[in-house]
């Protein structure tokens, strides 16, 4: 039964990855930017909540409500003062600037918080380790289940928002072609800034839940970026529902890998990511030759 439990845990961990990857995928979808500071922004938000919870004793769930708008503002400012200018300079400059930002955030947090490993788990009481018994021997952590539900809600909500609201339509139009969108009266600058705010706020949300379910240090950001990116690529870049599937595949692979070897958690995740890339390449090459039939049938 441990395998069933592990599998279930893997799926739920996938929910966290989907939550984490949501902002990365969204930002890439709208602005074609891969934000290399994504993971560090998540950790920044975790640090802010930790600071509030630690100094005032306010529950992290309440602190979260205060921190998320701040993260949204950070995203808005990021777009206005950094990404907007980077985007005009070509595809490579956003990578360089967001990488520089990642270095600044990481080391800035280290300067303030030190290298200690921290967690929000002590501040949320029993909720950190509560679990439900599904059948005898199969348990599901309630926090992990909450994160999974939140990821589904967020991804679904974002999809509905993009499909049915005027602002969502404006975002999609701008993503398609910013210049043409501007011609029909959409303020592309504002749309980009709002999209960045949404992306960074969701990254912040993921960071807070990382801090609740596990531990973090100021240098945890890059790892989170890599997990998010792997989830996005496995699920198919630019697709929000694919992100959930990608997160689950990654979570299950890592959890099962950890059963084989203590280092297996990370290694299996990376290997599955590379295998998906390779498979996609092979399938693409196959399709170019007319699919499986095309390869095996001789031209008459």
């Amino acid at each position: 039964m441990t395998w069933v439990t592990q599998l279930l845990n893997g799926v739920l961990l996938g929910g966290y990855y989907a939550l984490l990857a949501c902002g990365l995928s969204f930002m890439f979808g709208v602005m074609r930017i891969i934000n290399l500071a994504h993971g560090d922004l998540a950790i920044l938000s975790a640090c802010l909540v930790f600071l509030i919870a630690d100094t005032t004793g306010i529950s992290p769930f309440i602190a979260l409500v205060a921190v998320l708008p701040v993260m949204g503002l950070v995203g808005w400012g990021l777009q206005r003062w950094m990404l907007e200018r980077s985007l005009r300079a070509g595809v490579l400059v956003p990578l360089l600037t967001t990488f520089g930002l990642a270095i600044v955030i990481e080391n800035g947090l280290f300067e303030y918080f030190g290298a200690d490993t921290r967690s929000l788990a002590p501040y949320i009481g029993d909720f950190a380790y509560d679990s439900w018994e599904i059948t005898s021997n199969v348990y599901v952590g309630s926090l992990a289940a909450l994160i999974f539900a939140l990821a589904v809600l967020l991804l679904g909500g974002l999809k509905l928002f993009l499909t049915y609201t005027p602002l969502g339509r404006a975002i999609r139009a701008t993503a398609e072609d910013a210049d043409t969108a501007a011609l029909v009266g959409i303020n592309a600058r504002a749309v980009y800034a709002i999209a960045a705010a949404i992306a960074v706020a969701t990254a912040g949300l993921a960071g807070i839940f990382l801090a609740m379910r596990a531990v973090f240090t100021p240098f945890s950001g890059p790892e989170q970026l890599i997990f998010a990116f792997e989830a996005v690529v496995i699920g198919g870049i630019g697709s929000l529902s694919g992100t959930l599937i990608g997160g689950i595949v990654l979570g299950v692979a890592q959890t099962l890998g950890a059963q084989i070897n203590p280092q297996g958690f990370l290694i299996t995740g990376h290997v599955v990511f590379l295998a998906v890339l390779a498979a996609r390449l092979a399938l693409g090459a196959l399709r170019a030759r007319g699919g499986i039939r095309g390869v095996f049938s001789r031209p008459s």
Partner: protein, 361 residues
């Protein structure tokens, strides 16, 4: 269109000839440096040369081929790791350093099959995943002792003074050969190909540039160069800890050096490397703030001075010290006075459609 071809496309200007001679003199001087300076200076110069190798390799990748990698530390670490493996299995230590880098470089070819299909940001993080995976796998090797690491004990066969001199000469030779390789490659057909790819990959493909082959050559060169830098770093520091060698800080250093010096210029990364070396020398002890500063300066340069210090000087004064590209000199003295050089960021136009430039200037 102007059909009256009154211009000369030239490669060697008087300035670039003088600069090349100066470079040769400096090299001869550097070659005898261990006889002239004390140990500290020689060690510092060795470190500087390793930084220069890293900067030039990353610039070849990002500045010329348009491949921004945040995972070159994969090869830096693997070069050192294979050198340790070879030495552990009985190979003489200096050949092991070189062969270790060759093996890591060769490993870049299968990696390139997957990675070069990715574009821009995907390639950047994809390489990061490769570096993380290499780090984890190397730490699993029993002779490395996990994150504790291991020392290259075979180096103890040499006295400290001999070791210092050999490390210095090997690093100097590696730097000169790699710089020359980049120089020759960029002057040739490949240089035009990769820059065309960087500027517009689809357009380059459509005019017959073999995109994948050109990218792969540069990718291999950069991997080998970074691997050699890694094995040379091992020779100077002796100890190998996976976390240090596969650390992301190497990429931060490379980006800083190239952005400050001048992305996509030949001389830029050399200048950026020297600046980085000086900054590290004077501010390295300030620890974390120093890294915050590096990141912030890199952002400022990327946003406000995207061609770096040297690129800006080149653009402003139209000079180039080493003849990597072509300059256009107009002869129509009735309209234009004296010599004029084309803007360097239009180097490709110089090669393909000189007439265009005449009209523009």
């Amino acid at each position: 269109m102007n059909t009256d071809r009154r211009f000369i496309v030239e490669r060697w200007t008087r300035l670039s000839a003088a600069a090349s001679v100066t470079a040769a003199v400096v090299l001869v001087f550097l070659a005898v440096a261990p006889f002239l300076f004390d140990a500290n200076v020689v060690d510092s110069l060795t470190t500087l040369f390793i930084y220069l190798i890293l900067a030039v390799m990353w610039n070849a990748l990002a500045g010329y081929a348009g491949l921004v990698s945040v995972g070159q530390q994969a090869f830096f670490g693997l070069g050192a790791y294979f050198a340790i493996q070879l030495s552990y299995h009985g190979m003489s230590v200096y050949p092991a350093l070189l062969l270790g880098a060759v093996i890591a470089g060769a490993l870049s070819l299968p990696i390139s099959v997957l990675m070069l299909r990715l574009r821009a940001g995907e390639f950047a993080i994809g390489m990061w995943v490769v570096a993380e995976l290499a780090h984890l796998l190397v730490a699993l090797d029993p002779i490395i002792n996990g994150e504790t690491g291991v020392s290259l004990i075979a180096l103890n066969a040499y006295t400290a003074d001999d070791r210092r001199a050999y490390n210095y000469w090997m690093t100097l030779a590696a730097m000169v050969v790699l710089l020359a390789a980049v120089f020759v490659l960029l002057r040739g057909r490949l240089g035009a190909s990769v820059q065309a790819i960087r500027d517009d990959e689809d357009a380059a493909q459509s005019v017959g540039v073999r995109v994948l082959a050109a990218k792969r050559t540069i990718f291999f060169l950069a991997a080998f160069g970074c691997a050699l830098a890694g094995s040379l770093w091992l020779a100077t520091s002796i100890s190998f800890q996976p976390r240090t060698y596969f650390g992301i800080q190497w990429t931060a250093y490379m980006i800083f050096m190239v952005l400050v010096g001048g992305l996509g210029t030949f001389e830029g990364p050399i200048i950026g490397g020297v600046i980085f070396f000086l900054i590290e020398y004077f501010f390295g002890q300030t620890g974390v703030w120093y890294l915050v500063g590096l990141g912030a300066v890199a952002i400022v340069f990327a946003l406000f001075l995207p061609r770096g210090l040297w690129g800006s000087i080149e653009d402003r004064f139209g000079i180039r010290l080493l003849p990597v590209g072509y300059t256009l000199r107009l002869l129509r003295s009735d309209f234009y006075h004296g010599s004029h050089t084309a803007p360097p960021n239009d180097r490709l136009h110089d090669l393909t459609e000189p007439n265009d430039n005449v009209e523009r200037t």
